[in-house]
Amino acid sequence: MRTRGRAVFVGLLAAVVAAAPAAAETVKIGFITSLSGPAGVIGKHMKDSVELALDHLGRKVGGLDAEVIYADDQRKPDVGKQLADEMLKKHKVHFVSGIIWSNVMLAVAPTVTREKVFMIGTNAGPHELAGEQCSEYFFTTSWQNDQTPEAMGKYMSDQGLTDVYVMAPNYAAGKDMIQGFKRYFKGKIVSEVYTKLGQQDYSAEITQIRAASPKAVFVFYPGDMGIQFVKQYVQAGLRGQIPVYSVYTIDEVTLPALKEAALGNWETRSWSPDLNNEANKRYVSDFRKKFGYTPSFYGAQSYDGLMLIDSAVRAVKGDLSNKAGMIAAMRKADYRSTRGPYAYNVNHFPIENFYLLRTVQTPDGEFAMQIQKTVFESHKDAYYSKCPMKW
């Protein structure tokens, strides 16, 4: 009798131990971004923000030990995909996060979500993933690519601006930006010009702008293209005459190189360092203290990505096998985001505010982008109705 009792006891004990969640598990997060080459500066912004997030969380995610594995996609989709495979099969990560570029995202996201692993995008928001290819394992903390130019289109339309000259580089993102702009801009577009990707000299295009005499100019020139365009525009003496409205052209990454050349230009964005909420104030000031420079939206989104993951793991009490639970938790967006509270749309893209920003000179002689007004409140993207998910 006693032996059988002991056997039962041991059996029960074994059952209890086996059923308990693997509490000593480490959360593994694969963070893919561009670390080498000219785009590496953006990757640095993102990596530094992830590190700050880990610091704020006490180096634990959802109460579990965390390991973040950084990888460099070299801006190439096939390298990105190979890295994703490596994350999934070699490191066996629970989350893949990051990714700056839409074309890399389109290669990586399906690879990850197909294996039922979470993809938490922190920048690129291609419309395919917001529409037909939405997945319950894909979440983003950024935006859908079109939304930012949509906000600018709306603002310029509301201002009654017409006769606008539009320019962007001749590639997929450039065309998407113009398309988003046109969705909300109801005025007249004088000319729509696409320039060579990576073009350095814009004197010819700027001369054409002067000849066309538009009331305003709308451009999308990310990275070094933006630095070049803005500098040359100012040199041509057009700044005071024809105002420049842009998206993803002037931001905390390019502002240090532009300084006074960017003064007076307008942008729209869903986040700014001067956004007034607790989480953001803490993020920006701690970031400046730790790294010595002002963070950008790339960084803020990556910070949010970590926080989102943390909220999910916390909600399932560390049981990383409870994926349905984590999906439900993330859908609530129940964490302190740097942009303030927001909700998720059916396609797992945020429904958020968009603000108008302007480059100003701060009292200490530096240059910064500051929020002027809110253009959109709780703005939804244009593709969510194509997403078959319902919840």
Binding site: K81, K89, K90, S102, L106
Partner: protein
């Protein structure tokens, strides 16, 4: 005439490649099957470049173009619902060969730096063309709907089957390449590389032979492109960028130009190094740069070329 040490190394190497999948399975690290498969696909591309570079002396910075054409042949056909692998891969090879014929016909009239520049120019042209093709994703690229189907003969979704198919193709190209360079055709190209006027004086028309080699190399690289599309299941115009050609060229040099096996070694070593180094530091290019210089200056015969045996250099 192969020297024993080279043959031994070649045999050992092939044996290792054959054993990678079971080893990966045993170690529960399936990722390595993907990694080595990718290396072998680039090995085929490097091999094809060696035919014109190592043996023919034609420094083409546009070779990666065929990688892109082959990949897009598969991708575009799949986009329109044509999943038949036989058809896709045949189109990949044929399209690459045709483009190589056109580019070669214009470029081979020049030599030296002009040849380099004109092949680079064509690479740029095709790259910018690829970016502007919006239907097929432009620079975003496009996903491959589904891997090439072979009517039940072989299922590419099975990583092992796909791996051994690529290995078989690699061996096939090694054999074919060996045959070509040692046949009369190969002799003429090598003669033309070392002394073109003399070759002409003997009565050969090097232009025709060089062009044929160019077309063959292009077609082979096109097949590598079709394989790459299946491997990554995503294709972008980036496949055609001239820096990609530079990478493939580096593989050929690193492994040993003019040896056929050398490029295979080079591909494996270079891709392996990139994988290891980029995990260590983001500034890996500062290591790779001088490494490249060092190889060119001191190990010109490449890794495989270090083994005793003939190298088709200055015949």
């Amino acid at each position: 005439m192969r020297h024993p040490s080279r043959t031994i190394v070649l045999a050992l190497g092939l044996l290792v490649l054959v054993l990678v999948p079971p080893a990966a399975a045993a170690l529960n690290a399936p990722f390595y099957i993907d990694l080595f498969r990718r290396m072998m696909i680039f090995a085929i591309a490097a091999l094809s470049l060696d035919l014109i570079l190592g043996y023919g002396g034609m420094v083409s910075f546009g070779h990666a173009v065929y990688l892109g054409i082959g990949a897009y042949a598969v991708g575009i056909l799949a986009f329109y619902g044509v999943d038949n692998g036989f058809l896709q891969w045949a189109v990949a090879i044929a399209a690459s060969a045709v483009v190589a014929l056109v580019i070669g016909a214009i470029s081979i009239r020049t030599s030296g730096v002009s040849f380099i520049m004109i092949t680079l120019a064509f690479a740029q042209m095709l790259y910018y063309l690829g970016i502007s093709l919006e239907t097929y994703g432009g620079d975003n690229g496009m996903p491959l709907r589904t891997r090439s189907q072979f009517a039940g003969l072989i299922d590419l979704r099975d990583p092992y089957a796909f791996y051994y198919l690529v290995l078989a193709l690699l061996v096939l190209f090694l054999v074919l390449g060996h045959r070509i360079v040692n046949a009369r055709f190969g002799m003429v190209i090598r003669a033309a590389k070392s002394n073109e006027p003399r070759a002409r004086a003997i009565g050969f028309s090097p232009f025709r032979y060089k062009l044929t080699a160019f077309v063959l190399a292009g077609g082979a690289c096109g097949l590598a492109g079709a394989l790459l599309a299946n491997q990554t299941e995503y294709l972008t115009p980036d496949f055609m960028h001239w820096t990609r050609s530079g990478e493939i060229m580096f593989m050929v040099i690193l492994g040993g130009m003019g040896t056929l096996v050398g490029p295979v070694v080079g591909a494996i070593v270079l891709l392996g190094l990139e994988d290891v180094l980029s995990a260590v530091t983001e500034h890996w290019q500062i290591i790779l740069g001088p490494f490249l210089v060092g190889v060119v200056l001191f190990a010109k015969r490449g890794l495989f070329g270090l083994l005793p045996g003939e190298v088709a250099r200055d015949g």
